[in-house]
């Protein structure tokens, strides 16, 4: 139940535009917007990319299950293009990977039809051949279904095939012989080729029968039911549904994260806060419903100070503040009821949280009085480190010195499977004029000015990540990465 006006105009325009133009054009438009930095912040970028992918998938010519490799390839291509446009918005890669995951999942689920449950390999075979990028004689020449090194080739080359394996294993939790492929290589099984034509199928079955090698007992794919022709399902609808869920997740993420607030903010605590993300704001607001605490806000001058003040000044834009203590009026239990003006105006200060704003330089001085440090994040990396507002590293280091826990709140969409081999390249250097006015002729050209807008915080300095799927320590974050993206590695950069 987001209140309008939260989005920057460029994003609003793009979200409107994307539904009316071709996906390719929309990609170019988004590329331009990203390059011109008209859309910034992980959330907005994620929304735009998800919407674009929705459009892209719905217009893609690959709709059938058999063509899913083509779809995956196209989406990956699109992802590479967008990542190249703005390599520092790592969230682009996250969203694209999530959508790739959705597609793979759909592939697997559709494949898991009765009788085909364990024929994933066969299904994939036919798909691979139908794309035409691999040896074309798979469909036409069923003899190739018999085990030859040749038949193993497509898999060894196309990583995507392994992906499905991995996805299916993870999702269904059912046991699938891990090395079916190896078996084929050894020539122990013949592969049925459940292609569109009856003929092919018969050929395939025929070749199976010809091959008298005993089959593994847990390979029931050759039961008579398999005679049904392979149903080439249209997966587009399901994929779109998956992307919609992802978009919903982006809308809901703040509240989901905020649900954990009560367990992390206790009564009469002093919480030091760095960052201006709506997630953080919602988190604090939600905590304020039940608890009385003090917020020490770090100013984050000069790049983020205005937004930081907005967190204190402006009403929360994302929470409907259900259950907010509202004198005289019962809180609206019904979500459809419009918000009262008091609720709309509710700010951190108005709900009774004591707020203190301090400059960045005062952090070490105040740190000893603080119970907890709370931060937002720009992106979280696989190894538990993260990228966030400039100055965060100093704050985190200072907190460590005082043994004060550093807690990061963030949506899981910000979790990137990338490893920070070169953290510097992930950081953005901003406009020099935020430090010194360009009109100052004595400084311009004489003094070198650097204005990094982001900071890299290594995992050792963070104690806890709170995401919409639960809390994690930096050390355990890799598990969450696995869960979100599978073991598939899509190189988009």
């Amino acid at each position: 139940m987001a209140i309008a006006g939260e989005q920057p105009p460029a994003l609003a325009k793009f979200l409107k535009l994307v539904t009316s133009i071709k996906a390719d054009d929309a990609t170019e438009v988004l590329t331009g917007l990203l390059k011109r930095r008209e859309i910034t912040s992980s959330r907005n970028v994620a929304k735009a990319v998800a919407k674009l992918l929705l459009r892209f998938v719905s217009q893609n010519r690959h709709t059938k299950l058999s063509e899913s490799q083509g779809l995956i390839k196209d989406v990956r291509e699109l992802g590479r293009h967008l990542v190249a446009a703005q390599p520092r918005e790592l969230v682009i890669g996250n969203i694209v990977r999530r959508v790739l995951g959705v597609i793979r999942e759909e592939c697997h689920e559709s494949n898991a039809l009765p009788g085909f449950a364990d024929l994933t390999l066969g299904g994939r075979l036919s798909r691979a051949s139908s794309i035409g990028e691999e040896s074309t004689d798979f469909g036409s020449n069923p003899a190739s279904g018999t085990a030859t090194p040749h038949s193993g080739r497509p898999f060894s080359r196309d990583g995507g095939e392994d992906d499905i394996d991995a996805m299916s294993r993870r999702k269904s939790k059912a046991y699938i012989p891990p090395n079916l492929r190896n078996l084929t290589r050894q020539g122990s099984i013949a592969l049925p080729n459940p292609s569109y034509g009856e003929n092919n199928l018969q050929h395939a079955l025929f070749s199976l029968l010809m091959n008298s090698t005993p089959l593994p007992s847990d390979s029931p794919g050759l039961k008579p039911e398999a005679k049904e022709p392979f149903e080439d399902k249209d997966i587009r609808g399901d994929v779109i549904e998956g992307i919609r869920e992802l978009i919903d997740e982006l809308e809901m993420v703040d509240e989901q994260v905020a649900a954990h607030s009560e367990t992390h903010i206790h009564a009469n605590e002093i919480v030091m806060v760095l960052g201006s993300s709506p997630t953080l704001q919602t988190f604090l607001m939600k905590a304020a419903v039940k608890r009385k605490f003090t917020v020490v806000m770090i100013e984050a001058y000069p790049n983020d100070f205005y937004e930081t003040q907005e967190v204190l000044r402006a009403p929360s834009k994302t929470t409907p503040l259900v259950g907010l203590k509202n004198p005289g009026k019962p809180s609206p239990a019904n979500k459809d009821e419009p918000l009262t003006s008091a609720e709309l105006k509710a700010t951190l200060t108005s709900v009774g949280v004591e707020t203190i704003l301090i400059p960045d330089s005062a952090v070490p001085a105040v740190m000893s009085r603080v119970n907890k440090v709370l931060m937002g994040s720009h992106v979280i990396l696989r190894n538990g480190s993260m990228i966030t507002t400039a100055g965060a590293r100093t704050v985190a280091r200072c907190a460590q010195e005082h043994s004060i826990p550093v807690v990061v709140v963030s949506g899981v969409y910000k979790l990137s499977p990338r490893y920070p081999f070169d953290p510097d390249s992930m950081l953005e250097t901003g406009d020099s004029s935020t430090l010194i006015g360009w009109e100052d002729g004595d400084m311009v050209g004489n003094a070198e000015i650097f204005n990094p807008t982001m900071d890299f915080v290594p995992g050792e300095l963070v104690d806890h990540y709170i995401t919409n799927v639960g809390g994690y320590t930096p050390q355990n974050l890799y598990k969450l990465v696995e869960e979100q993206y599978g073991s598939v590695i899509d190189t988009l950069e």
Binding site: P9, K13, K16, L17, S20, I21, K22, D24, D25, A26, T27, E28, V29, G32, K35, R36, R37, E38, A84, A85, D424, S425, T429, G430, D431, S432, S433, G437, W438, E439, D440, G441, D442, V444, G445, E448, I449, F450, N451
Partner: protein, 678 residues
């Protein structure tokens, strides 16, 4: 360019919902109309020169895209074909471009004023629009300024322009040297009351203000510290004003000054003084260099090399160093802060790159020192060279052991021999030569300003004082022989260039009047005004008239009308005009010669010549004496091209008829004389 309808349907619908009014239009003038970038602009238009390895025009278009512009008209003159081609192949012509772009070329454009007049005629503009030149680098969002402008328009109907200004400290490196402007603002520093163009050399001279100024505005703010980036939000009423004042050339010196000086207009101009954001205009090599420095140092964020506007692969590393992928650096090469290196470039051992900008596929040898040098693509720099803050254009070859001082310009494809020393004022180009020999394209302007500027060193030294001359980069390539040393400033004597400019103006105004069917009285009035203001000879008037009329006739003929009828109709209408410029026989001859010249090489030239001659004869504008004098004057003379002879041949029948007629008359006259004698 895609027609409006094609794009307008699907794509723009999203925008239209937001703003049901007209599209936001912008006019980009992709020509500087001056020669400060010579000799580089001999081969490439200024707006396509690389700035931080991205063509300058990209920055302007990105800026407009950022401002939410939906339609762009790109007016160009010099190298218009290159610009057109560039735009056609760029992302801006694609469906996905944030705006629709149209490249407009007209040979008659030689100043900003011409563009505005052209704009007025084309009727492309329906709403207030943004006027910028094609060399703007800015990250300011126009939306806020537009909103302010609109609010002001509602409050003050006479507000015709909002101009974007930037306050800078006096010694700011981005201030264009050699030129300055005085703005007089009202007490709120919103309205511009007066504008005066100042030259640094004559800062002592007095400035005359309108008397009323003091009465209406008791408090005024005199400011000279503005950086005028020529970003204007202009009302649709402005182009017609330019048409009215056909002598306005420059948008500041003529238009802004003129409109504020003259109480009669009663128009107001407002200033938007930028408080944040970056805006700069590449007006000269000095500003080119300083804006490049600003881009490297992230003042223009997000328009920096690592944004990869032009599909590059730049990556930012600490110290404002931008490197593209596939750069080959020797282990002992040193890259210091504020450097840009394009892909495919290799740098040899022991080379020091200190704040230099290097394009793609360059070969930098060993032990080279590059201090703030600006090197474009495919340049080869030999071993042991030292380059200062100079510009080395694409495909240049610099031999081993050269020293190139700050301020030198090595244009496209020039090869500098090994061991040579290039001085700071040197400008080398290959244009106009057949072989590899170089021409020194030297600025031998020896006045005071030059001295002052040279002392500033580096690229600062190139401000050509005589900018804003109405000659575009392209204009005088054809006429002059570039093989010899040329002056950068005035190559023509003042009278010549004045005559030329008069001719052009008169021609344009006449042609425009003819096309729009103005009455002949208006044309006479205009022509007279022009003649007086330029102090032009009648001969020039005749030339302009002949050219304009013939051009018009030919354009009408293209529509398929009958030659004779058209000529008769047009000349009939213009009789009073011709009457005022023909006084004696010589004038007739001259006029006919101009007409003949104009008709040469044209289809139906002969037929037209005859028709025109007959008409003039019939209307007694030309008598047989004049016609015959013309006929005999250059009959078989020097300087007549075969085409002109062809035209003349067309009129043969008519002349012969006159000759006969004449002879008869003569005999009659003789008789008369005889009678008189009696």
């Amino acid at each position: 360019m895609a027609p409006a309808s094609k794009r307008g349907t699907a794509k723009k619908s999203g925008f239209l919902e937001e703003a049901p009014e007209a599209l936001l239009q912008a006019v980009v003038i992709a020509d500087s109309f001056n020669k400060r970038f010579r000799p580089l602009t001999l081969e490439k238009p200024r707006c396509l020169l690389p700035l931080a390895n991205t063509p300058i025009i990209e920055y302007t278009l990105e800026f407009l895209a950022l401002g939410g512009v939906e339609e762009v008209f790109l007016y160009c003159h010099a190298h218009h074909d290159m610009i057109r081609e560039y735009i056609r192949d760029s992302k801006w012509s694609k469906e996905s471009s944030p705006f629709q772009i149209r490249v407009v070329y007209s040979p008659s454009i030689t100043s900003v004023g011409d563009v505005m007049r052209e704009l007025d005629q084309s009727r492309l503009i329906k709403e207030d629009f943004i006027l910028v030149s094609g060399d703007i680098v800015s990250n300011v969002s126009l939306q806020g300024i537009l909103k302010e402008h609109k609010a002001r328009r509602l409050a003050d109907k006479n507000c015709i322009m909002t101009t974007v200004l930037r306050e800078v400290s006096p010694n700011h490196r981005s201030r264009p040297r050699g030129e300055n402007a005085l703005f007089i603002l009202d007490q709120n520093r919103e309205r511009i009351l007066h504008y005066e163009y100042l030259k640094q050399s004559d800062s002592e001279s007095a400035v005359f203000l309108p008397r009323e100024l003091g009465k209406t505005c008791p408090t005024m703010s005199f400011q000279e510290n503005f950086l005028d980036c020529c970003i204007d939000i202009v009302s649709f009423e402005v182009p017609p004003l330019f048409t009215e004042n056909f002598d306005w050339q420059h948008s500041r010196k003529d238009f802004l000054h003129g409109i504020l000086m003259d109480e009669l207009y009663g128009k107001t101009v407002y200033a938007h003084i930028l408080k944040s954001g970056y805006a700069g205009r590449i007006q000269s090599l000095q500003t080119y260099d300083s804006i490049l420095q600003d881009i490297i140092r992230k003042w223009t964020h997000p328009f920096c090399p690592d944004t990869n506007l032009d599909e590059q692969t730049y990556k930012y590393t600490k110290g404002h160093i931008y490197k593209e992928s596939k750069v080959i650096l020797a282990q002992s090469a040193v890259i210091k802060d504020n450097s840009i290196i394009g892909s495919g470039t290799s740098v040899g051992d022991g080379t020091v790159i200190a704040g230099a900008t290097i394009g793609r596929n360059c070969m930098i040898g060993k032990n080279v020192e590059l201090h703030s040098a600006i090197i474009w693509d495919n340049v080869v720099v030999g071993d042991n060279c030292t380059l200062g803050n100079c510009v080395v254009a694409s495909d240049a070859h610099i031999g081993a052991g050269c020293t190139i001082e700050s301020g030198a310009i090595i244009s496209f494809g020039v090869a500098v021999e090994k061991g040579s020393i290039v001085h700071k004022t040197a400008k080398y180009t290959k244009i106009g030569t057949k072989a590899e020999d170089l021409i020194e394209y030297e600025d031998s302007e020896d006045d005071e300003d030059e001295q002052i500027e040279t002392s500033m060193g580096g690229l600062d030294s190139f401000d050509d004082e005589f900018d804003y001359s109405d000659i575009s980069d392209f204009e005088d390539d054809d006429g002059e022989t570039p093989n010899k040393k040329k002056k950068l400033g005035h190559t023509r004597t003042p009278s010549e260039s004045e005559a030329d400019s008069f001719f052009r103006e008169a021609y344009n105004s006449l042609l425009g009047a003819l096309k729009q069917g103005h009455s002949v009285d208006i044309m006479i009035l205009e022509l007279n005004g022009l003649r007086m203001s330029a102090n032009a000879e009648f001969s020039e008037v005749r030339r302009a008239t002949a050219t304009a009329v013939i051009t018009y006739i030919i354009s009408r003929l293209a529509g398929g009308e009958v030659a004779k009828a058209v000529v008769d109709e047009i000349l009939q209408k213009l009789l009073p005009l011709f009457n005022r410029m023909i006084f004696e026989v010589n004038d007739q001859v001259e006029l006919l010669t101009f007409i003949q010249k104009e008709l040469s090489g044209k289809e139906k030239g002969g037929v037209l010549m005859q028709a025109v001659g007959m008409k003039l004869y019939n209307e007694d504008l030309c008598d047989d004496e004049g016609l015959l004098a013309w006929w005999n004057d250059d009959n078989g003379p020097k300087g007549e091209t075969p085409e002109m002879t062809k035209v003349r041949a067309g009129a043969k029948a008519f002349i012969e008829w006159i000759q006969q007629d004449d002879e008869e008359e003569e005999s009659e006259e003789e008789e008369d004389d005889d009678e008189d004698d009696d």
